[in-house]
Every structure is written in structure tokens, then in C-alpha cells.
Symmetry: C2
Subunit: 297 residues, 2 copies
Amino acid sequence: MTTTNQLHGVLAPVLTPMNDDLSVDVPKWIAFCKQLLADGCTGLAPFGTTSEGNSLGIDERIDMLAQLIDAGVPAACLMPGVGMCAIPDTARLAHQAARIGCGGVLMLPPFYYKGVSDEGTFRAIAEVIERVGDSRLRVYLYHIPPIAVIGFSLATIERLIKAYPTTVVGIKDSSGDWNNLRSILEAFPDFGTFAGSEKFLLSTLRMGGVGTISAMANVIPGILRHLYDHWLAENADQLQERANVHREITRDYAPIPALKQIMATRTGDPTWLNLRPPLSNLTQGQVTQLLAKWVDG
Amino acid sequence: MTTTNQLHGVLAPVLTPMNDDLSVDVPKWIAFCKQLLADGCTGLAPFGTTSEGNSLGIDERIDMLAQLIDAGVPAACLMPGVGMCAIPDTARLAHQAARIGCGGVLMLPPFYYKGVSDEGTFRAIAEVIERVGDSRLRVYLYHIPPIAVIGFSLATIERLIKAYPTTVVGIKDSSGDWNNLRSILEAFPDFGTFAGSEKFLLSTLRMGGVGTISAMANVIPGILRHLYDHWLAENADQLQERANVHREITRDYAPIPALKQIMATRTGDPTWLNLRPPLSNLTQGQVTQLLAKWVDG
């Protein structure tokens, strides 16, 4: 871990609670952010995929971020998702995040056009960095080809690190493919590499990675933090297995609706079920199945 | 064609000229819009895929649209692309378009999340329409699964028409699949169906469709307009074949870079080559090949 990598540990891509009119319930969101930090998260990655980040407008995100800081959440522990399809929008949000002191930003490549070249992906990220033009900017590349389709090749990662060594400081690998994550860890030992799934947390730390940014951190932050804090302990594999149980229970369901269902059940607050289209809630049958298996950890 | 479908004929998804710093060259864009209308386009679909529409920020699009109207281009002939990933952004841009009198808007479904349900896609479009809440809004669905991945099934189209019969008035089918386009034309005879490729223009008109919104309309508007005006003529098939020649010449190249290359060569203005990342220009070898074959029509 280089000195430019401040973010590490267990980060939650924070679920976004919404009112019945699908506006963001900002007070509930801020309270949830604080709760996650109290319960074990070392940092937060709001506006990630699990946050329905790309279903939030740019003005909404800027406003939410400002309110979160105003409420006393330390900017240094935040890695907001900023990657949109249009470079001006991504640059505007990334600049705002850097200006207020966010520890980093999580940056998708532009994901509308398919079949683009490595050259095009490199230039898109470079153009954003140049436009932001702020030495405080810390970029974590967001590699999630199962959803964004467009991702970062090893060659593009290498080129970005060489071009912007103090700015492009890490990656979240949500490929779901351990071989890809391992390749990144092997190729870039000083990079701030986060596993996109907590199931790879121990393996990632053992290979020099810095932590996980995982949807499951919304519901089992303490279990994941315990694993992170004790990854050198003798029983570390057991701690990993303990975490894996919760993923196994949820794996048959669409992840965001399943996690919002768990939050609604846990809190007794049905507004946790609100999702922005195009996402849909679980069916009643799925809810019954899920809740029969789920045990709060 | 029902009375609510005003837009028909040959619409260009207008190429977006950019300065060397990748800002939009708005005066050149406005002049190009006017030229396309003078040269044969019956309407314009700015901010489409060919326009690098999703590489433009929302504020850029709103500003460009206002300047275009101010410059005297009739709003009634415009169908700007408005579909983004976040419902508030899509609703904001669609509302602005309706307010200033645009003939329609071209609306992608939210395209970040993959594997979403028909229910989710329906609710996304419905939510935008409800938020706009303006009877002047005319929505043309934008079905382009090769790029957006997410598209509109026949069932979703039918449900949207039934729910919003005076608002959801048409579709651009850019599936590239004649069978899909034919299915739409057969299922919804009174719908404003545009072929997403000019190669299907004659077939579309013969089955009751209303025209084409085609990238090629940027460079051969006169040829396509002649076909549209004479589709009932005896030589209509020859006119279609004449148009097809130009598509054949460009088919081996990435379409947006190829069309910008043709514009740069035609006008002698190299700034036409500017593209926003992640798109990249053709290689010099490709340029040589393309220009050896291309003849301005």
C-alpha cells in the first residue's frame, strides 16, 4: 500500500433509502451511513452499483454528498461513485468530490458505447483527470463488466498508473472472476486493489490488496470488519467462511432488492423496499424464501 | 399514422462537431443542422447514438437545444435524445424538450443495470412520463440493444401504448433485425415506427411505418429524401439500392468515426475528426481505404 492509498478495509456501497415518491430519503441515508461506520465499515462508497448510483441524477448526487459532509461524516473515508457516460458530468462530480476532500472517487469507464478500444477507455479517464485538474483527486477504477459491459484491461490499468501515478491509486474489481482479481494483484503490487466481493476479501489481503467494497457490507459490516481486523489470525479462514454463509443465503436473488428487503425486515420500515426503476422488488415467494434463511449477523 | 404522430420522413441523428478541446462547436453544429434540413432531412434527432449524445452532459444538451431554437430551427421538426440512466435527468431533459415544442423525444430505457424485467422497463418510462406531466410530450421509444443492451419487448411497447396512448407515439428500431422491425410494424399499425437503418426505409414505409432515423442521413440526406418522396414510384427499389451503396462502403468501419471522416474530407475542416472518448478515430489505413471508395452522393 503506497502512501497515496488512504482508503482500505471494508467499504459499503451504501444502499440508498427512498421515499414513496422515489426521491432520496436523505436524512435516513445519512443516518444509515453513520450507522455503517459505527457498525464496522472503515469507509463508504456511496453511489455505487448497489446504491442505485447511476439511477441518481448528477445534481442529486452533488447535493447528497454536501449534506453528508455537513452532517459530520468525514470526507476522507468516502469514495463516491462518479463515473457517468459523459465526460463533463463525470468531471464535474469528481471535481466536487476532490474539492470537499473525499478520500477517493470510484470511476466507471463511459459505458454507453460498446466495443470501444483500450485507447478510447484510457483517453476517457485521462480526459476526466485533466479536466478536474486537482492534485487532491484520487481515482479508483471501477471494473464491473457484468453490468457496465465496458471495463479496464490490465494494459489500460498499467497505462493509467504510469500516466497518473499519484492520481490513479486503486481499483475495485467486480468482475466476479478471481483469476482477473489475482492478475491485478500480481501485476500491480502497490496499487489500492479492492475485491468487489467480500468472498475474496481474505485472498485479496493475502496477496497485498487493501480490502473490499462489497454490497454485503450494507448488512454484515461487523462480520466483515472482524475478518479484516483479524486476517492474520489463525482462524482467519473460518472468519471468511462465516461471512460466506450470508452471501450463500442471498445468492439466488437479485442483490439490491434482496438487501433492501433485509433492511426493511430488520428495521420494520417498509420504505426500505422502494427502488428506482428499472429495478423491481422480489416476488412475495422470494421474500418468504429469503427471510426463512436469513439470520442477522 | 395517427394525428398525434407529426414526425415522419428522414431524420438525421445529427453528428456533433467539436472543438479541439472537445467542447461542442455550437455554431458549426447549428449550421450543420440547418444544412441537413436544406439538403433533404424532414427532421433532426440530435443527441442520438451517432450524435455522441450520451457523451454530452445534461447541461450541454439543454443549452444546445435552446441555442438551436434561438437560431430559428423549428422545434416541431426536432426529436432530441433524452434517455439517460437516471430518471430525474431523463425527465428534466424531456420536460425541457416538450416545453419548447419539440416534435418528440427519443427515449432510451435506463441502460446501466442489465437483466432487468419488462415490468422494470415499463415503470422507468412511465415514471419519466408522470414526472414530466406535460401533455405536449411525445415519446419515441429508442430500441438499440446492440449498444444499450437493454431494449423494449413487444409486450412492453404494447403496455406503454395502452397506458399513454397520446404520449408514447412511436419507436426507433435500431436492433438491426428486420424481423424485429417487421414484428413492431405488424403489431402496432398506427404507431410512428422509424427504421433505425435506412436500408429498411422502403420496407418500413410499405408496411405502414413513418420513415427512418439513420446515421447515413448525415451524409446522404438528399438521396434518402428522394427515396422517401418517391417510395410509391415504380423505381422505388432502385432508389433504395442507390442508398444502400453508401452503407456498403462504410459498413466495415466504426460508423461515427467514419461519418466524421467523410465530413472532414468533404468540408476540408479537420476539426470534424474530433470525437469524445471513448470513441477513437479510424486508423490512417482505414481512412485511405474508406476515401478510395466513397463518392459524395
